[in-house]
Amino acid sequence: MSNHAGFILAAYGVSFIALAILIGWIFVDQRTQRQALQELELRGVRRRSEAKTDGAS
């Protein structure tokens, strides 16, 4: 039954690649946001109030 190996490999391969991209994107996003946040805090910008800023979402 190895004549279907191509399909199985393709299915697992596509899934692996897609999930890897998704995970990678989420981690890159995390680093971007964290860096931006740190940079702003270094410049001395403060949120007006935590609850307010988050509440405005």
Binding site: S2, A11, A18, L40, D54, A56
Partner: protein, 255 residues
């Protein structure tokens, strides 16, 4: 009455974004580790699983196809609950949750479609048929993409929240309607008859790997979702702080 109010208030208080962030920071590493472990075991088990007498080795696709299909529906359900959260309780985390879930759900749905197609070609001899289940998953995929597009098109979160929530809710009505009406439509024109393995009679040697994989992918979903929610909250803080910065700077130049 007053008791329910205070109860809701307490619950909302618990789930405020700051607490969520603290909780997520502590919890995420463990969740991530567990996910890796379960997925590794599941993968090993599915490699060991015997071939099906009818479907041959292609049954291995089931171990990923079925969890993806389940997760695609679970994710939409979570988004629907979040939409209710936005519209009814106006909870600030609800919109964050919905927005973070949409891309993840879209990926899982796309993978269910792709792995299903890759299974269908050797089993049915065609990549695609317009049968009830396939079509409704495809429409689900379209709705995910539509919701993502809408959240991206309106950049003010306060405004996009409600629009997206309305769309998600209206879309949820759509899923049963489509499933139901596609049956209608299939009885009218003779559909290409579709082979389908009986869901109930799965051999334990196939069932166990499937269950472990399903749990693993569900854990993966929650890990990613929590992390994406964290990112989204950070993103909103960054935007808010940039605005504050800009405004105080403008005050300086004007005066």
């Amino acid at each position: 009455m007053s008791e329910t109010v205070s109860k809701t208030a307490r619950w909302i208080d618990w789930a405020n974004p700051t607490r969520f962030m603290t909780f997520a920071a502590a919890f995420l590493p463990w969740l991530g580790g567990l996910t890796t472990l379960v997925l590794a075991v599941g993968f090993w088990m599915s490699m060991q699983a015997p071939d099906d007498y009818q479907q041959g080795a292609t049954v291995k696709i089931m171990f990923i196809h079925v969890p993806f299909a389940w997760l695609s529906m679970m994710c939409y359900t979570i988004m629907t609950l979040a939409a209710l959260g936005t519209l009814v309780w106006r909870h600030p985390l609800a919109d964050v949750s919905a927005k973070a879930a949409a891309p993840i759900g879209a990926v899982f749905t796309a993978l269910a479609l792709v792995t299903g197609s890759l299974w269908g070609k050797p089993m049915w001899g065609t990549w695609w048929v317009w049968d009830a289940r396939l079509t409704s998953v495809f429409v689900l995929f379209l709705m995910y993409l539509g919701i993502i597009a809408l959240t991206r098109a309106i950049d003010d979160p306060a405004k996009s929240a409600k629009a997206t929530a309305i769309l998600t809710l209206v879309g949820f009505i759509n899923i049963p309607i489509i499933k139901f009406s596609v049956d209608w439509w299939n009885t009218l024109h003779q559909p290409a008859s579709v082979l389908r393995m009986g869901g109930s009679t799965i051999d334990p040697s196939l069932l166990w790997p499937l269950l472990v994989m399903a749990i693993g992918f569900t854990l993966l979903f929650f890990t990613l979702h929590m992390q994406a929610m964290r990112n989204e909250i950070w993103r909103r803080r960054v935007v808010a702080m940039r605005r504050v910065a800009a405004r105080s700077a403008e005050r300086r130049t004007v005066q």
